[in-house]
């Protein structure tokens, strides 16, 4: 989850003017078209993919721009770190690559991947991961791309969703999701532009195979996430007849979850919620109660790698995220879905990976249709 940079209306008009003057012929923040081509990557050393396959392993992982879980980054935890060193980032990237090489997914959906951002040592993390794993192909769609964010020293920023694959990615589209409706225009200008990354992958023996990755809004207090999920469903419905795997960080809990309000778990020192005098009553992004049915449509129409009944039997076993770096995982917000078939009992929520991100990966084996 990435909190909005603290650009407040009363303080920022001059910043916009001065910085716009400085960069006057180049947009400060990339606006993106409603639909545009995603960025395609290839690994420095390509490896021949397997041809005769009856199942593939798919995994989704929000990697928190390789900041690691313990780094108290100011935007998504109760910390004051902003710009990490190249050494810190490389150390986490090496850990991420080691785990990926160990679990060995055939297709990997990543969220919060940085590409040449100041906060992460200007490393192109998509290319780095391609070059340090066995994947040969990648696609990337930026969520937050700015020449300069004049706040907190953030500077140059490019963060987004990526899909890595052993097989060639033959099409890749970046589809814009609705932006937050609870922000003023200027905050919205500098804020994240969530997207759907839709790829068509040349899986041997499967004519039309799509992998779709998304990262829904984290801190909205209105119906933004609902509109984003509806947009995702709409895009999926256009792929009738194709085999689809989709997933990512939806920032939503499964319907029927026992715990739906995490304000107390997520609050920082000096913050107070839920008391009569508190304003706001809830911490942004921590109260899922009004959103509990927004994923029901996906559960009804598609197959989740962790079926609803399995989740409801033992919820903690499937938790994927926590904001407190010292807490145990306390909620499930990361998902894999398909319109085909997950192999039974192959879904794993890798809760043993405790230090590499504030999310754990979720993997599952998918039956290749014959």
């Amino acid at each position: 989850m990435i909190k909005e940079t603290r650009i407040h209306t009363s303080q920022r008009h001059w910043v916009l003017i001065a910085t716009a003057l400085l960069l006057s012929c180049d947009p400060l923040v990339n606006q993106f078209k409603p639909v545009e081509e995603a960025v395609i990557y290839t690994a420095k050393h390509q490896q021949a993919p397997p041809n005769n396959i009856d199942k593939i392993t798919v995994m989704t992982w929000n990697i928190r721009f390789a900041a690691g879980r313990r780094t108290p980054w100011f935007g998504d935890s109760c910390g004051d770190r902003v710009i990490l060193s190249e050494k810190e980032i490389l150390s986490t990237l090496e850990g991420l690559a080691a785990k990926i090489n160990d679990i060995k997914p055939d297709i990997l959906l990543l969220q919060e991947v940085d590409v040449e951002s100041k906060r992460s040592g200007y490393i192109d993390q998509v290319q780095w991961l391609l070059d340090h794993t066995y994947f040969s192909y990648g696609a990337y769609a930026s969520i937050w791309q700015a020449q300069y964010i004049p706040s907190d020293g953030l500077g140059r920023m490019n963060m987004g969703n990526a899909i890595l694959s052993r097989w060639k990615i033959v099409e890749a589209e970046r589809i814009q999701l609705p932006q937050r409706g609870d922000q003023d225009a200027l905050t919205k200008y500098f804020y994240l532009r969530r997207n759907i990354l839709k790829t068509r992958i040349a899986l041997p023996g499967v004519d039309s195979f799509y992998v779709v990755n998304t990262h829904a809004e984290a801190f909205s207090t209105d119906d933004t996430k609902k509109r984003q999920i509806e947009r995702l469903e709409n895009e999926l419905s256009k792929l009738a007849g194709a085999y689809i795997i989709f997933g990512g960080d939806f920032n939503l809990l499964p319907p029927g979850s026992d715990s739906t309000d995490f304000c107390m778990e997520d609050k920082c020192s000096g913050e107070s919620f839920h008391r009569a005098k508190d304003n706001p009553q809830h911490k942004e992004g921590s109260n899922y109660t009004p959103e509990m049915n927004w994923l029901r449509g996906l559960y009804d129409r598609y197959f989740c790698s962790v079926p609803m009944k399995d989740y409801l039997i033992d919820q903690p076993r499937h938790f994927t995220h926590a904001t407190d770096p010292n807490a145990t995982w306390d909620r499930k917000i990361d998902y894999l879905f398909t319109n085909h078939r997950w192999l039974p009992n192959t879904s794993v929520t890798h809760q043993d990976i405790t230090d590499l991100s504030d999310h754990v990966p979720v993997s599952a084996q998918w039956e290749v249709p014959r």
Partner: protein, 269 residues
């Protein structure tokens, strides 16, 4: 503690200062027999003062000395420049320009949380000072047309290590701050300016910055300006600046336009 208002002001001033200092070369100058000038080896006439919205305040102290300061930033970045006009060699007027500035208070002001934070507040900005010395040589190559060449060396000293992650990776700013990370940097360039017709003048300027010890060690800036000189008391200018620079993330071109300024001049009795 520096107030939020002061920090906002400081950041705006820093950007404006760098944009416009870069746009004008930051030196005072004087065409022979013309009051309006910039970027040459000539000094202002004795008692003449000139200032622009984004220009330094310049004052001709004697026939060979000119002082200038940037009044907008002087409280947050104390600065002073002295241009010393020497003798002519083969028709070239030769001057040296010596400037001193102390950017620490300004940088500490923009190392802050929230809006206007150009540097992360997690880093400490040490005391730093820089001295620029530049040699300028100018010659009239035709009626009302002046060609200038310049070569400079900047040296910087600081009281403690400056973390590399404090760089402000923006055009104009990055190459000028590089000296604080590497101790010295070089700059050089040419300037051609003159009258086109009636009150219309032009100025074309090219400048390179080299910081030999840096990985990102090169920047190039090219300025084009049209100037309308109403009188000895007022002129208006507009134009563009094309910038190529190497930054920690790679190299990039920027076109900064339009550049606009209003300038005034008068004689101090």
């Amino acid at each position: 503690m520096i107030s939020s208002c002061a920090s906002r002001w400081a950041t705006a001033v820093l950007l404006s200062f760098l944009l416009c200092t870069a746009a004008t070369g930051g030196e005072a100058r004087q065409d022979a027999g013309q009051t309006w000038s910039s970027g040459t080896a000539y000094t202002l006439p004795v008692g003449r003062m000139e200032v622009g919205i984004f220009q330094p305040l310049r004052y001709g102290l004697s026939t060979s000395l000119e002082f200038s300061i940037h009044p907008l930033v002087t409280f947050l970045m104390p600065n002073l420049s002295v241009k010393w006009s020497h003798r002519s060699f083969n028709g070239f007027q030769v001057s040296t320009n010596h400037s001193l500035y102390y950017p620490t208070p300004l940088l500490r002001t923009v190392a802050r949380e929230g809006t206007g934070g150009l540097i992360s507040p997690e880093f400490r900005i040490p005391n730093m000072v820089a001295i620029n010395t530049e040699v300028l040589a100018s010659k009239f190559i035709a009626k009302d047309q002046v060609l200038t060449g310049k070569l400079g060396l900047a040296l910087a000293a600081k009281s403690a290590t400056l973390d590399r992650r404090t760089t402000i990776d923006l055009p104009l700013i990055f190459p000028r701050m590089n000296v604080f990370y590497h101790g010295y940097s070089l700059r050089g360039g040419t300037n051609l300016q003159g009258r086109m017709f009636r009150r219309w003048h032009y100025r074309a300027d090219a400048e390179i910055f080299i910081t030999p010890k840096a990985e990102e060690n090169f920047a190039f800036e090219q300025l084009g300006l049209l100037l309308w000189q109403k009188s000895a008391r007022f002129q208006f200018c507009f134009g563009y600046k094309l910038v190529y620079g190497e930054y920690p993330f790679g190299s990039q071109w920027h076109l900064l336009a339009p550049l606009v300024d209003l300038q005034w001049g008068w004689r101090v009795k």
